[in-house]
């Protein structure tokens, strides 16, 4: 039984030039304790799909889905009041920029205790004790002192720890981390990723990691969904994804990584991600795909079966038939 179940999620934005589809027919299943990664480049709709799940999109967005359930609640039909009880408590999120996600006017301690007060209704002394415990849990040294610090007095890594402390304050069942380490240094990134995985082991929460960094994915995730131009083009467990990608986009993305390069010139992907005004008719990757033919350019491919990583491709790579022929 999955914790978060999404079927056929689409998000459209109203813009100057008409409607723009940011997320296109995305399915998703996350079970308790899973570490699911969503990778994609900018404009792939990876953040938007999660913001839609949280109900945090602006009014210009239209969210449609066949199914969107979290822990037995139908997220599509929640009243704002009921949503507020779930979001921030059972379903928490952290963002890329820890500096701007915290309110600069209040001490970090106040912000942690605020979450405890609103969702758990703890008393003053209990709140303080729990805040100290949380700071300790996320590895903030000298928590008594740090509770009274303002965000600008702490480093980026410390602020991200505070954000994580707020997010896990109510023992969420699912934590969505949107590029949690992109703004941080490499050594701090390693600390934060370790922390997230440790917290998952300790509390049994599920983790959705949104990132563009294949290295981070390879070292932390169990399952990986690859997004391109709003669609989920492939989903596989992390090992098989890196070893035998089925969608040409995944394959090209992996080949373009400098560390997997075999020669001095990297295999680049020509062209750019399609935007609002040049969305292809068939497969969205077809203009940049080296295998594309007329069918790809005219007929949008449906997702294939689980054995082929749900790849949206007419001619998936690394299939047994292809090897045989």
């Amino acid at each position: 039984m999955s914790l978060l179940r999404i079927r056929n999620l689409s998000v459209d934005f109203a813009t100057t030039g008409g409607s723009f589809r940011a997320v296109d027919q995305v399915d998703m299943d996350v079970g308790p304790g899973d570490v699911q990664a969503i990778v994609g480049e900018s404009g792939s709709g990876k953040s938007v799909s999660m913001l839609a799940t949280m109900g945090l999109l602006p009014w210009t967005a239209t969210v449609t889905a066949d199914e969107m359930t979290f822990d037995g609640h139908d997220l599509r039909r929640l009243t704002p009041r009921a949503r507020r009880r779930i979001v921030g408590k059972d379903l928490a999120m952290i963002f890329q920029e820890p500096m701007s996600s915290l309110n600069p006017c209040f001490t970090v301690g106040f912000q942690v205790k605020e979450a405890l007060r609103i969702h758990l209704g703890l008393g003053r002394a209990d709140r303080n004790a729990r805040a100290l415990e949380l700071f300790d849990q996320v590895g903030i040294p000298a928590p008594e002192k740090r509770l009274n610090a303002f965000p600008h007095q702490l480093s980026g890594g410390m602020n991200q720890r505070v954000m994580i402390a707020i997010a896990i304050a109510c023992r969420p069942k699912l934590l969505i981390a949107d590029e949690p380490t992109t703004a941080l240094d490499v050594t701090i990134q390693a600390q934060i990723l370790d922390l997230l995985l440790r917290l998952r082991d300790e509390t049994g929460m599920a983790l959705i990691l949104i990132t563009h960094d294949m290295g981070v994915v390879a070292e932390t995730a169990q399952r990986v969904a690859v997004h391109y131009a709003g669609q989920k083009v492939e989903e596989q467990p992390v090992g098989p994804l890196f070893a035998s990608p089925h969608h040409p986009y995944t394959a090209a993305l992996l080949a373009a990584l400098p560390e997997r390069a075999t020669e001095r010139r990297l295999p680049a992907i020509p062209g750019v991600v399609p935007g609002q005004f040049d969305r292809p008719r068939g497969c969205l990757f077809s203009p940049r795909c080296r295998y594309a033919d007329d069918k790809c350019r005219t007929v949008p491919p449906p997702p294939l079966g689980p054995d082929l990583g749900f790849a949206r491709c007419h001619y998936p790579l690394n299939t047994d038939e292809r090897l045989a022929s």
Binding site: E41, S42, P141, S155, G156, G157, M158, D185, V186, T187, I188, Q189, A190, Q191, L193, D194, H212, D213, M214, G215, V216, V217, A218, E219, V238, G239, L241, F242, A252, L253, L254, A256, L257, P258, E259, R260, A261, R264, R265, L266, P267, A268, I269, P270, V272, V273
Partner: protein, 317 residues
């Protein structure tokens, strides 16, 4: 080996900052005692985390600021502030964020030909345009892009324009300040290829500033690892990646995530964070976070030791 195009010796830059109205001004040691030599056709990568002095180095080498002490030589001539105007053409820079580095109110043609307009006022407008159009092709853009504004381009295309602008004056040195960090992976590889092509074609020397070790490993010839404004390890790419001598370099390498889910490695976990840049530790700057620290590390600052592969550590690996 050919003559170096840029030589820095003892490059140092301090800033004095005042916290409050009445407090004494304090000194931020953004860059201390940096030496390096740049050869044509070679890439020197400067690696380090935020606050290590990478950006200050870029500002000194591109002659936006004078060093507090130390000397920079470009093409054999000392780059002192009174000579800056003559040396402008020799060093150019490409920035990290392609969205901020192009003037939004200028057309691509103007952006490209501006350096010529400033430095070669006697050049005919038609010649400038011809050169700009030539450059457009060289960096892989189409001729019709000449009359467009930056906002009509994607990040990768903008970075091509920024590179083209930097090359308009035929510089010998190109400072690349995290040139691909803001780009998507699929775009990043194309820009790296372009940089390699240009280096071969024009015999450029690159000062490649980056925090991304996998990119550095791909593009660099030599590497300087910096920490808190000081070089703590220098050597060729092979030396530094195969046998990092300084504990920080070792930790940095081990902390870089690798796109290989099978290969689990021993990650060295660094405790703590960067000390304040205001503090002037008497010993090794890395001592507070190092797992091998001994008393000597806290009291005596280690110099760079070794012949080609050098590290500033009393107890190198």
């Amino acid at each position: 080996m050919t003559a170096p195009v840029a030589v820095a010796s003892g490059l140092t830059r301090h800033y004095s900052v005042k916290e409050g109205l009445f407090s004494k001004p304090q000194t931020v040691r953004a860059l201390s005692d940096l030496d390096f030599t740049l050869h044509p056709g070679k890439t020197l990568a400067v690696v380090g985390e935020s606050g290590c002095g990478k950006s200050t180095l870029a500002r000194l080498v591109t002659m936006i600021e004078p060093p507090t002490s130390g000397a920079l030589e470009l093409g054999g001539k000392p780059a002192t502030p009174d000579r800056w105007a003559d040396l402008r053409g020799a060093v150019q820079i490409v920035f990290q964020d392609p969205y901020g580095s192009l003037n939004p109110r200028q057309r691509i043609g103007q952006i490209l030909s501006e350096p010529l307009k400033i430095n070669r006022p006697d050049m005919k407008a038609a010649d400038r345009e011809a050169r700009a159009r030539e450059m457009l092709e060289l960096v892989g853009l189409r001729p019709e892009h000449y009359d467009r504004y930056p906002h009509m381009f994607s990040g990768g295309q903008r970075q091509r324009i920024a590179i083209g602008r930097a090359l308009m004056m035929n510089p010998a040195v190109l400072v690349l300040d995290e040139p691909v960090s803001a780009l998507d992976v699929s775009i990043q590889s194309a820009i790296l290829n372009l940089l390699l092509d240009l280096q071969e074609k024009l015999d450029l020397a690159y000062l490649f500033i980056s925090h991304d070790l996998s990119v550095v490993r791909h593009i660099a010839d030599d590497i300087i690892v910096m920490y808190l404004g000081r070089a703590i390890e220098t050597g060729t790419k092979a030396q530094v990646f195969a046998h990092p001598m300084h504990p920080y370099a070792k930790a940095l390498l081990s902390a870089t995530p690798q796109a290989d889910p099978g290969g689990k490695r021993n990650r060295i976990k660094l405790e703590g964070e960067l000390p304040s840049p205001l503090a002037d530790l008497p010993g090794c700057p890395f001592a507070p976070r190092c797992w091998k620290t001994q008393d000597k590390c806290r009291t005596d600052r280690p110099p760079l030791m070794g012949d080609t592969h050098r590290a500033a550590c009393w107890f190198p690996e």
